[in-house]
Amino acid sequence: MKLWKTILAAALLALATGSQAFAARTDLVIGIPLEPPHLDPTAGAAAAIDEVLYANVFEGLTRIGPNGEVLPDLAESWAISDDGKVYTFKLHTGVKFHDGTDFDASDVKFSLDRARADNSVNAQKGLFAAIDTVEVVDPATVKVTLKNPQGSFLYNMGWGDAVIVAPESADTNKEKPIGTGPFKFQSWAKGSSITLVKSDTYWGAPVFLDKAEFRIVPDAAAAVPALLSGDIQAFPFFDPDSVAQVKDDPRFHVVIGSTEGETILSINNKKPPFDKLEVRQAIAFALDRKAIIDGASAGLGVPIGSHMSPASKAYVDLTGLYPHNVDKAKELLKQAGFENGFKATLKLPPPSYARLGGEIIASQLRDVGIDLEIIPVEWAQWLDQVFTKKDYDLTIVSHTEPNDIDIYSRKDYYFNYDNPAFDKIIAELNLTSDDAKRNTLLGEAQKILADDAVVGFLYELPKVGVWDAKLQGLWENAPIQANDLTKVKWTD
């Protein structure tokens, strides 16, 4: 009898501890606002593609870490020649694609050559522009020769658009992505969800989750009940306006981080009267960044004075250059010959930061005599009229690509900005790989843009993440748009 009891007690104890050891969940449902159009990161600009696949399914030679740093990925290490033109990558061995084929140097050559080919539809083809040749030295070594030294080459290779794909599966990745990452693609219910499962053949540190489902929730109003009911446990990109509803709920973590999204009031620099420096400076003085952030971004977001993320090491704080000053703005307009102000248009794309911010900016500019007509446009119209045809006066948009200050030196870019001094700095930057020197040059570039008041610099778009308090390892910041699940786990 006594033995019975002992056995029973032991069994119960074992059961209790046993079930506790297995209690940590290994599945996760993540809410994303936009559905990716397809699942090939090397063939489209949609951020939603990377938000599902980057670091999870696909890997590159290098990768971008949670704070924007360059980390080794499929390349275990690399050596750079003294002239900065030859990169020799040592690759991990024993790596397999999810369809069972082996990964080696020929896949790297294939991927890089494919991305820079004439018929390539890679949305970031510019990342590969400096590459001259890609040579397979042996199965575990690749030599990349550049036309000229490029300071950002290792960073560029960490973009989602530069991931390594296999020749066997490259053409079908849009529907059935095959990568080397810790998760493999399982299914895609169009319009509804994308499911990834743990890959058993992964070469690196195993992940904690067995299954991750990305569920598409386009409506911000639907995200809150989805969290509250437990249907979805994480929204890494949450609507700032809805934060108040979950902020004080102990069941959730609300994490405000930074992005690479410089939100700006773009100005058509060639179109009169905006070709006059005084007019652009007047606009800069007329803008009250705090009021804009409060009204358009629920008070979240860091003010910027030039085109650089405050999270970057190269950041220079130039927000004090044009403090909010209505009198100064009016005076500058008077100098420019617009004592009685003028009329202009403001084209606004769909995101709420633009639509809400636009109304506030219109009222701020009206205070100094600039009368704006607000024209709401769809993305397709915006790309067509504003971005391609440059048929606009002012517009609001967030430039979410990381480290993209060079857009101001691009010929024919929609800002219509042309400053040889700035172009010279960017050209020098491209040839510099020393970090300290790069940061100095980036600082000078920021100052020129701020001095010229090229556009109205508003604020850095915040990354608002909300997830179950028991969840660990999701990115706080968004140095690139991704949901890296490799370190994510449930705690209990």
């Binding site: 159009p37 600009a45 539809v121 219910a189 569920r215 119209q381 067509d384």
Partner: protein, 315 residues
């Protein structure tokens, strides 16, 4: 009857041809380039041109129209620009959500509306009628996305009886799939039922004033029999018309409810395709909807003839 049907059919086909031209022309005029949308801000003009060629967007307009219509006739709807899968597959997946949802909502709306309409009409001016029509007025006035959110907070967040949204797919089993369609169906059905009940009531009241109703009552038929056999049947024509319109709306006009419940329905596909300038998807789905609306109208026309024998003889 045959002549009546043939005439209806001819009108239907002419409408289809006209609609195909209008749909194609309107979408061509719409500003925006699908290739630029796919490649984003960093792609060069040459690359965009490259993709346009690959997608066949640079062919002459008339040629593309004929190619498209030819495809439709042979039931080949083309491939989506953005998803790069056959449009018909996309539609089939979405129909698996939208069609059951529309049918459940329509059934719910009819089941609620007809008895309420009958009840109100037979108690015209009394307290019961006033309450029922007041409720119907409220049902028309309440925005359905708000009503949907209230349903979600009550049944999904608080009572946890159903999921807050999403659709697990029919492969997950009939009950889980139906469960996820229940709240959206109720949210869709209630405003529709409110409209339908008001229409049924006024149609019935009109009929109840007719001489033959008085005759029927005078010859001693019980009120209930008069109401069901004589009045309801004659009041069906406006009710059927509204039902036909509602079905067409429920099939594709439910984008707001689909968003609130994040359901992968047809409405959301069309909306997404429009913003992405996935023209081929928009064109094909709009044409399918035109076919659906015309088919529903045809069915309604035929049912008029069944309900009202006088229409059968007419040319």
């Amino acid at each position: 009857m045959t002549a009546y049907l043939l005439k209806r059919l001819a009108i239907a086909i002419a409408t289809l041809i006209l609609a195909s031209m209008v749909v194609f022309a309107v979408l061509e005029i719409l500003p925006g380039d699908p290739a630029r949308l796919m490649l984003g801000l960093n792609a060069s003009a040459e690359q965009v041109e490259q993709l346009r060629n690959q997608m066949g967007l640079n062919a002459p307009l008339v040629l593309r129209y004929l190619h498209w219509v030819g495809g439709l006739l042979s039931l080949d709807f083309g491939r989506s620009y953005t998803y790069s899968v056959p449009v018909i597959d996309l539609v089939r997946e979405r129909m698996a959500v939208s069609l059951p949802l529309a049918l459940i909502a329509l059934a719910l709306s009819t089941i609620i509306a007809i008895p309420v309409g009958l009840y109100s009409a037979s108690r015209r001016g009394r307290a019961g009628d006033t309450i029922a029509m007041g409720a119907a007025q409220l049902g028309v006035a309440v925005p359905n996305f708000w009503f949907a959110l209230m349903l979600i907070y009550l049944f999904a967040v608080w009572l946890r009886l159903v999921p807050a949204g999403g659709f697990p797919g029919w492969s997950a089993g009939v009950w889980p799939a139906l469960k996820s369609l229940l709240l959206p169906a109720v949210a869709l059905a209630l405003p529709q039922a409110a409209i339908l009940a008001r229409v049924a009531r006024s149609a019935l009241i009109e009929v109840l004033n007719e001489d033959y109703i008085r005759t029927a009552r005078a010859k001693g038929l019980p009120y209930r029999a008069v109401l069901w056999r004589h009045a309801l049947r004659n009041a069906m024509i406006p009710v059927l018309t509204i039902l036909g319109l509602q079905f067409a709306f429920l099939l594709a006009g439910t984008i707001i409810i689909e968003n609130v419940f994040y359901l992968p329905g047809l409405g959301r596909l069309v909306f997404q395709a429009i913003t992405q300038r996935d023209l081929i998807v928009v064109e094909s789905i709009v044409m399918l909807l035109v076919v659906a609306v015309i088919a529903v109208n045809l069915v309604v026309d035929v049912s008029y003839a069944i309900v009202d024998p006088r229409l059968r003889g007419r040319q």
